[in-house]
Structures are given as C-alpha cells and as structure tokens.
C-alpha cells in the first residue's frame, strides 16, 4: 500500500530509540506495534536520536465543532473523536496500532480489566480496574458504571437523557440490555434479553463513555454539559463553542499520563482554510483533507500525511422494486459500468480505496472477504442491459446529499459515476439535497419513481449486513431502503445473529455477503481512507483504522 511509508516515517524513530522508549517505561503496548511495523518496513528510517519530550500544547483543526462534550449526546465524528480523549468505556479499541498493520482496531481492556460472557451469551460480567479515579477525584466503581447505564435507559432516573438513550440504542444496542447489576464494588454485570454478539465491540464506542456520577449529581445535566468530567487521558479545561475546546493532561491516568500538557481542538470548517492553517503552522494536525490538497501536503517536507482507513463505505442504494432496476442483471451492469479505479485516482486523488463488496475495512467481514469485486467492464455492462431488455439503456432518477459526515465530495463523485453510466446508456437525473432533507427522504425508502440514492455508512461489526439487507427491516421499520429481499440471505442473517461462535458467525455473514454481492442491491463504490496531516514536530502519531485516534503517546519536538 502506498500509504505504508507515510505512517511509518511518521513515527520518526529508529529501532534503538524504540528500545529506549520501551525501557523508559512508556509502555510495552505502545512499543510492540511500532517495533513490528518497522520490522515489516525493512530498514528503519534513520533519524537523530530523540527522546520523547513531555510538555507542550498541540493544536488540532477539526472539520466541525465538537459541540457538547458529554458522551452519547451527539454522533458526529468530531464529537466522538474528542470523547475518546476525555473518557473511558468498559472496553476500548486499541488505537496504538496503525491502519497499515491491522484492519480492525483490536479490543482491549478499558475500565474493565477482564470480562466474561456466559455460555448462553446473555450475561456479561465485567471486573473493573481498581483505584481508577474520575477527573474530580471520585472513584470509578461498579455503582458509577451502573449510574451511567441507568441514566440512558430509565426514564425515571433523575439524570435521564432522551438523546443519550436514542443514540446508544441506535449505535450500541441498549434496547437489548434487560438489566444491569452491581455485583460488588468492582464487578458490574449486564444481562441481555437475547444474545447480541456485537455488544462488546459496540461498548467500545465512546458514546458509552463513563461520566462522573458525583459531578453530574452536583451540577445537574445542563451544567455538567458545560463542565464535563470523565476519567480519560485528558481533562476538560474550557470550551468556547465554535472557537476551541481546551483539554489538559490527566497526570493520574491509569494507562500512564499523556506526554502533552494540553490539546486545543479548533473547528476550522472550510477545508481550504484548514489546509492554510496547517501550512501556516497555526495548527499542528488536521483531519478531513480535501482530495485536491493531498498532493500539496504530501510533497511538503514539513508535513506528513497518514491514512486512517476507518470502517467506511460510500455507495449507491438501488431500488429493487423500480421498473428500471428491478432486474439483478441491470444492477450488476451498473456495478460493471463504474470505473472505481478512475474515481479513486482522478477524483479522490487516492484518498479512497475501491469497494469490492458491502463490507467496509475495519469490519471483521472485510478481512478475507470472499467476493472479488466488480471490475470495470462497460462492454459486459451493455450486454447485460440488453439481456435484461434495455438495449438502449434507460433514464432514471437518483438523489444524494450535497454534504454531510462521511459523504466525502459527493458532487464530483456522483457526476463521475453519472458519466460512467451514460457510457453504457443509462441517463441519470440527480436531485441534490441538503443533508437534513436528504435523511428525511431516505428514511422513507426509495419511492417507485426513484431508482437510486447515494449515501455512506460506517460499521465495524458484521451484524451490520442484517441492518442493510434483511427484508424484515424495510422502512419504516428499518433502513433497508432498497427494498431488497432474498429469503436465503434472510435465513443466513437470522442464523448468524443467534450464532455465538465468532468464527462460525463470520462464516455465515460471508455466505450472505456472497449472495448479496451477486444480487447487487447497491453499487459498491469506494471506502474513505480518511487522510490526516500533521507537522513535522508532531512525534509518534498513529493513524488507526478508525475515525478516532489516541494522543496519549504523542509528543512535540
């Protein structure tokens, strides 16, 4: 992969330094992945011996204001990225391993040191780390954990929050939790209504971040939102909405104190202004780089571009009921007509990788996926269209959002696909919509006059296939907006949901994936590589396969 060198040189450390780094006690968990990544890379980059330095303020430019910094009140990428720095969950994703090395961030202990899942898959027992303190000095114990779950699930709880409930039901699956129990001071238990193998991975989502009950009781929900208290590597200092959020090192962090003194998060919404701020040195790191700026930044010696490769897929949903796209040969033809390589290279400037099937990278289903992908073959596409009764192609309507989280650069991308489809005789008329209006319309499912919509999704659990392709989840019940229905796929997905063995479960999803690929209810297009750029003085930054990242081990030269 072309980006491999980027991420590795970004470490900027030699083997000897790494050894010393380990000896210095910054943690074996950190050293091991760096070591093996360098071993993979062959000769280590020669760099002057530099010791990690404590201190300094790192300024980061984000694509949006992180807004309210309380877990579970927003699903926005900018918010969740900040929550990762400030809060802990029971379970964490390991962000110290770069995307060049792992496809999915491994699950590691968070506030729970160990956990146990009963053989029926219903009882989750978490043994908590002892002696962990919230930023206000109170202890993180099983009561505190229960407080956090209760206030998301019980409407009568004095600190109940409706947004928190909706978000964690939607992202994590809180509706599956029947009850939570405090077994003893350091043991917390969760009983599910039905087996839900995705639960553990979902709990690592930082919308489940644990807040300090003492602080919340003292301040109440509204004032807590202005002075949030968690237990993560960085503490909240101050926030001016739309201007900055300031965090400082938590010297007592159970996983080792961060090296940076402070992190300042600045929302710089306009992409070209964000690039300018990085070039001018006003910020040290930026996320969401516009494709046209990637080369400019990559060839700038003082700047490193790393690719994260989060679990993301950008695709077209095709209407499996509309006159034009009802026949699977038409849908296959549309998949064959799209030049994904061209799109990824010419429009996205290699900030995207091509999608072969429905699984995004960072999802266990993506690794060793057994679909080959549709290769660009307009001649075959035309033949399939003719076989399906459209020798002269057809005209169709499609809609997409003008912007929005994960939508990348929708207009140039959709126009590229429109041109590809025109080459095989399919004339697409677009309706471009504002994001909110788009969601409202998409939720209803594709209407008979509309053959397609473009959207994007992010999921790191294979269960996701069910939410996208199970016919029980046609709107308004669910999000299968294509009206796709295949009894065999339904059967496999039902079976997979009940299967507790991870390997067998994954096998069932892969079987379903193969059928879905052949039925082509979508045009599988690309995955965002989510480039992140930072200045040379930023040391030891790792871009993991996620939208979020860890700054605990980062230091400034």
């Amino acid at each position: 992969m072309a980006d491999g060198s980027d991420a590795r040189t970004s470490n900027g450390l030699s083997r000897r330094e790494l050894l010393r780094y380990g000896v210095l006690g910054t943690g074996a968990a950190l050293t091991a992945p760096l070591w093996s990544s360098l071993a993979l890379a062959g000769p280590a980059p020669v760099a002057p011996a530099v010791q990690p330095k404590k201190g300094g303020t790192m300024v980061i430019a984000w694509e949006a204001d992180p807004g309210v910094l309380v877990p579970g009140l927003s699903t926005g990428g900018a918010t969740v990225r900040a929550l990762v720095l400030m809060y802990d969950s029971l379970v964490h994703e390991d962000y110290t391993k770069p995307a060049t090395q792992v496809d999915t961030p491994p699950l590691i202990p968070g506030l729970a040191e160990r956990w146990n899942i009963s053989s029926d898959g219903l009882t989750y027992t978490f043994n908590l780390r002892r002696g962990v303190k919230f930023h206000d000095g109170t202890e993180v114990d099983a009561e505190a954990i229960k407080f956090n779950f209760d206030r998301a699930m019980d409407e009568r709880h004095p600190h109940f929050d409706a947004t928190l409930r909706s978000i964690n039901t939607s992202l994590v699956g809180y509706h599956v939790i029947r009850e939570t129990r405090v077994v003893d001071k350091y043991t917390f238990q969760m009983i599910l209504r039905e087996p839900f193998p995705s639960m553990l991975r979902n709990l690592a989502t930082r919308t489940t971040g644990i807040v300090s009950p003492a602080a919340m009781r003292r301040m109440g929900n509204d004032r807590f939102a202005l002075n949030p208290v968690g237990s993560g590597p960085f503490k909240f200092v101050e926030q001016e909405r739309g201007v900055k959020a300031v965090l400082e090192r938590n010297p007592d962090y159970w996983g080792g104190a961060p090296l940076l003194d402070r992190v300042v998060i600045r929302p710089v919404i306009e992409a070209s202004s964000r690039v300018a701020a990085l070039l001018a040195g006003e910020v040290d790191l930026m996320v969401v780089i516009p494709p046209d700026s990637v080369y400019q930044l990559r060839f700038n010696r003082g700047i490193t571009v790393a690719f994260a490769g989060p679990p993301h897929i950008w695709f077209w949903m095709l209407n499996n009921r509309a006159t034009q796209t009802r026949d699977k040969r038409v849908r296959q033809a549309m998949n064959l007509a799209v030049n994904r390589e061209g799109l990824a290279k010419d429009i996205m400037r290699n900030t995207a990788t091509i999608a072969k099937g429905p699984f995004p990278p960072g999802n266990p289903g993506y690794e060793r996926s057994n679909v080959a992908g549709y290769t660009y073959d307009p001649a075959r596409a035309r033949r399939l269209l003719a076989e399906a009764g459209f020798p002269n192609g057809f005209e169709m309507r499609a809609f997409y959002p003008a912007s929005g989280t994960g939508m990348m650069v929708p207009t140039p991308m959709n126009e590229y696909i429109q041109a590809n489809l025109r080459d095989v005789g399919i004339r697409v008329n677009f309706e471009v919509m504002e994001f909110g209006a788009f969601i409202a319309r998409a939720r209803l499912g594709l209407d008979d006059q509309t053959a397609a919509l473009q959207t994007s999704w992010s999921s790191s659990d294979p269960f996701w296939l069910e939410t996208m392709f199970h016919s029980d989840l046609h709107p308004p019940r669910g999000n299968v907006r294509t009206w796709y229905k295949n009894p065999e796929v339904d059967r496999l997905l039902d079976q997979a949901r009940r299967e507790l063995n991870d390997q067998r479960r994954l096998q069932l999803y892969r079987q379903a994936e193969k059928i879905i690929f052949d039925d082509a209810p979508w045009i599988f297009v690309v995955h965002d590589r989510s480039p992140i750029a930072y200045r040379a003085k930023v040391q030891n930054f790792v871009a993991p396969p996620s939208w979020s990242f860890d700054l605990k081990n980062v230091w400034l030269r």
Partner: protein, 316 residues
C-alpha cells in the same frame, strides 16, 4: 423625536412576532427534523420516534410555537437542542463577534469608500476617477470566499503578515493587538463589496450636489474648496450613503456567513448555518430574533441620523 423613537419601537414588536412565526413555519415545511439529523442516517425509526416524543416534536405545530413563545415572553430563549447551552448565551457571544467584524468592515468601507468617492467626484473622468470606479466594480463583483482565500494566500501564507484564521491566537496571549491582527483580513473581505458601493454612491451623489446653486454660492463667498466640498457638498450628499450603509450593516450582521466560514470567525452567521443544518429550532429562532432586532434598531438609527445630516428633516 422621543415619541417618534418610541413609536418605531412599538411598531417593531409585531414585526418581530411575524418574523418568528414565519421562521418557525419555514422550519416545519423543510423536510427533516432535529431528531432525524442528530441521530444521523443510520438511526432506526424506533430511536428517532423516542427522541421526537421526548422533545415534544410530536405535538401539533401551533402548540410547539406557543410553548416556545411562552418561554420567550418570560425571558427564556431555551436550550440549544444540539449544543445543550442556553440559546441566549450562545447567540450573544456570537453576535458580539459578528458585530466586531461588521463594524470593522464598515469602518474600512466608509474610510476608503468615502475618500475615493469624494476625490472621484471632484475630479470626474480623471485617471483617478476611472481607476477607482473600475476597482469599485471589481470589489463589488468579487465573491467573499474567493477574495478571502486570495488574501489568505497572499498575506498570511505568502508574506506571513496576518494569521490565517480564528479570532484570537490559541497559543498566544490574546489581547487587543492579537484581535486586530486577526480582524484585518476578514474585515477587508467582508467590506469589499460595501466599499465599492459606498465609493460609487458617494461619487454620484456628490456629482449631483456639487452642481447645486448653494455650492456655487459657497464658492462665490470665497470659502476654501475643502470647506465647500466637505462642509457643504458632502454633508448633503451623505443622505443616500447613510441609508445604504445602514442597510448594509443590518445585512452584514446576519449575512457574513461566507467570510466567517473562510476565516473561521466565530460569528452568528456560521452558527445559524449550522443550526439550520441540524434543525436546532430554539437556536435558529433565537438568532433570527436577535438579527431582526438589530436590523430594526439600525434602521431606526439611520432615521435619526437623517435629521442630523439634514436639519430640514424633523420627526414629530
């Protein structure tokens, strides 16, 4: 005069009420609601319904409106749905920032625009006049986002004179000088079009006035040319300029979104834009209300200024 002002303020109340109803209805007509947007495209219908109920979005529209109005009458603009901060706090901070930007840009516009307009009018069809008017046309035609980026490229990245974005340096000490350094480029960007309008308007208005009998009389009295131009001609030529500048101020207070976006200036325009995208009804209502109040106030100020510039105008 006092009664006139009081009357105008009383008249403003139904205007504000009307605006709040129209904005509210428009928000209801636009597809998508705050629950759908907040939970994102992945949310299950069940979760969206739960949140809609909790926020009272399942109530009839008129009831939602009167609930909001009831709170406003008690001085409570509510809590932003998305940001969880009292709307009044959010809006006032942002409004202050936009006001700083607007007044700086109007100051620059008036200083440059009036000078250029007056000189052009006193030397019509000279090289200076033609050059100024071409520049004015250019200034008026340049979109703010383009001008802003060109200024950043030249003066921030190229010459390193000014910071790229924001209102204060996050690393530095802050203070007035820091604010001034951050203010100059966005103020020029925002003021580009206004400068052009003021220059052209001053010129044409001056040309008209300068041919009047009383100007000739002033000159015949033997007054210095400067006194004639500034004291007699300009004062009378200013009336239309004041009207337009007043309108511009009102317009810029609410409509500086593009400049605020390019320079990450934390103003009210940017905030309203985000609030509209997230359908944050209380925040949109609060912001629009404040913008409307400022519009009414500035119009009133312009009316009062008329009387100052032209003593023949008396309000009773």
């Amino acid at each position: 005069m006092g009664r006139y002002v009081a009357n105008r303020i009383a008249l403003a109340l139904p205007v504000l009420l009307g605006i709040s109803i129209i904005v509210f209805l428009m928000l209801k007509l636009v597809p998508g609601d705050p629950a759908t947007v907040l939970l994102g495209p992945q949310a299950e219908p069940r979760d969206i319904e739960m949140l809609r109920r909790a926020w009272g979005l399942d109530q009839p529209i008129y009831r939602q409106y009167f609930t909001w109005l009831g709170h406003v009458l008690r001085g409570d603009l509510g809590l932003s749905l998305e940001q969880r901060i009292p709307v009044a706090t959010l809006v006032l901070t942002r409004f202050k920032n936009t006001a700083i930007l607007t007044f700086a840009s109007v100051l620059i516009s008036c200083a440059i625009g009036l000078t250029a307009g007056v000189i052009s009018a006193t030397r019509p069809y000279s090289v200076f006049d033609r050059l100024t008017m071409v520049l004015a046309l250019f200034g008026n035609s340049m979109p703010a986002f383009w001008l802003g980026l060109v200024l950043i490229l030249t003066f921030s990245l190229g010459l390193g004179w000014f910071p790229v974005s924001g209102m204060q340096s996050v690393r530095g000490e802050g203070g007035f000088l820091d604010l001034l350094r951050h203010l100059i480029l966005p103020a020029i960007t925002l003021g580009g079009a206004t400068t052009a309008i003021v220059a052209r308007l001053t010129r044409s208005s001056m040309l008209e006035v300068i041919r009047q009998d009383y100007v000739r009389t002033a000159r015949a009295k033997g007054l210095y040319e400067r006194r004639v131009v500034v004291g007699h001609a300009l004062r009378n030529a200013l009336l239309p300029v004041v009207t337009v500048v007043g309108l511009q101020v009102g317009f810029l207070l609410g409509g500086a979104v593009l400049t605020e976006t390019v320079f990450s200036w934390p103003g009210v325009g940017l905030q309203v834009f985000r609030a509209i995208s997230t359908r944050d009804v209380p925040l949109i209502q609060g912001s629009v209300l404040l913008i409307a109040v400022s519009f009414v106030f500035i119009n009133l100020l312009v009316d009062v200024l008329y009387a100052y510039f032209d003593p023949r105008i008396r309000y009773s």
